[in-house]
């Protein structure tokens, strides 16, 4: 589905992330696709998506400067297109936590 930063997102359950000095590698076991996460901040952002009510909130919480937000949203958009991250239909974790 098209990426909407106002929605809640999460790493697809079939994706594994491996940290590397440049950022990280993401591998999808279903599509067998490998993606490069080109900065440590992008890696941390992707890993934290599930903890926030929206991608925008995750970006905010990661302390990404406003001038770079568009760039990070675009990277998340590509990850959404390739199925690496998926939209959460309900905010289950937040509900459980509440």
């Amino acid at each position: 589905m098209p990426f909407d930063p106002a929605l809640p997102w999460t790493l697809d359950p079939q994706v594994a992330i491996r940290p590397e000095s440049f950022g990280g590698l993401a591998y999808h076991f279903g599509t067998r696709r490998l993606s490069f996460l080109k900065s440590p901040a992008l890696r941390d952002l992707v890993l934290s998506l599930a903890d926030h009510p929206s991608a925008e909130d995750a970006i905010e919480a990661e302390g990404i400067p406003a001038s770079e937000r568009r760039q990070y949203e675009s990277a998340l958009g590509t990850l959404a297109e390739t199925g690496m991250i998926t939209a959460r239909t309900t905010n289950t974790e937040a509900m459980v936590a509440a």
Binding site: P19, A26, F29, M84
Partner: protein, 413 residues
Amino acid sequence: MTPAAAAPVPTLVERFERGLDAPICLTWELTYACNLACVHCLSSSGRRDPDELSTAQCKAVIDELQCMQVFYVNIGGGEPTVRRDFWELLEYATARGVGVKFSTNGSRIDRAVAESLATSDYVDVQISLDGATAEVNDRVRGAGSFDTAIGAMRNLHEAGFEDFKVSVVVTRENVGQLDAFKAIADRYGAQLRITRLRPSGRGADVWDELHPTQAQQRRLYDWLVANGENVLTGDSFFHLSALGGPLPGLNLCGAGRVVCLIDPVGDVYACPFAIHDEFLAGNVLGDGGFSSVWRESDLFRELRESQSPGACSSCDFYDSCRGGCMAAKFFTGLPMDGPDPECVLGNADEALAARKAVPPRSPVDHSRLRIVNGVETPNPMPIELPKVEHVPDRACDENPLAGFWNGARKVSG
């Protein structure tokens, strides 16, 4: 491999050159035993090595791969499925989140196996095929091997296994069949993977006759530009970059940086095409196991330092082709800091013609032996294979090489 956003930036390639914490793509040859005897076998496989890793040792390697977060391992051989514990190891790896893509000639992929494989997201299968017709394929891989491979593809397709791989080594004889290979892959819902013929293992014996000509390399390049996005190539063809822009795929030599090989006895080499002491980094059974070989071996550290362009330093295309394939140079007897033997600008032609020494050969050779004049002699198949119609020895005999060794028996007896 697809970058998350746009094309990979040069800094990422530089990072790769300096090596990663763990390989992206690890090849693990599980056994030297094989029921085929392909003329170009890069690991000179045939007979099992008595020192091959035990089941427990293999499981310990898998545990380590899990810790290192190696996403998947390319398992090959030899023919890996001839190991009695193959399916057990497959299950062990996938249960621990280590995906497995295994290469096979297809001889064990019957309907039941295909159905079981189709149920796992963590397993991918790669069927080797070196001709789009039985005539071209069987000359290299042995009589009946084309039908065996196609049978395995049909079984996988009928079992609903999507996107398995059909893996082709490009040769002078099959380079004109690329569209036909693509059609075969499409017919069975598979993805085509093409790789480069290396003068490694028994490949050294046939390289002169089988490696693509300069004119064929140009056609291969054009074909990859037109079709490359849907075809897997790994890091096979970056030496063609000097013909134009960079190709889809990994445009650098990944040896010891993002790829490596574990052989059946646990020896770790820089890449699958480099089974030779020169490229031996250590053994998984040593102190510190595989991870310390990967992270600390002198050889891998050296490979991650910037390489000297040597004789290529004045070439305008060095930045794109980077001197080509280390193993191809080594096994054709060319200097490591010079052009690839298949340099598309012809810069290696003079050096190839001027070679005085016999190129180095891998001391690791498990080719099946035959007796010639009372002496055991390695038995790579001759390239001029007898063109005999394949008639099964017995109705139930499915060995693709059934009857193939009659010629050898005659020699011995």
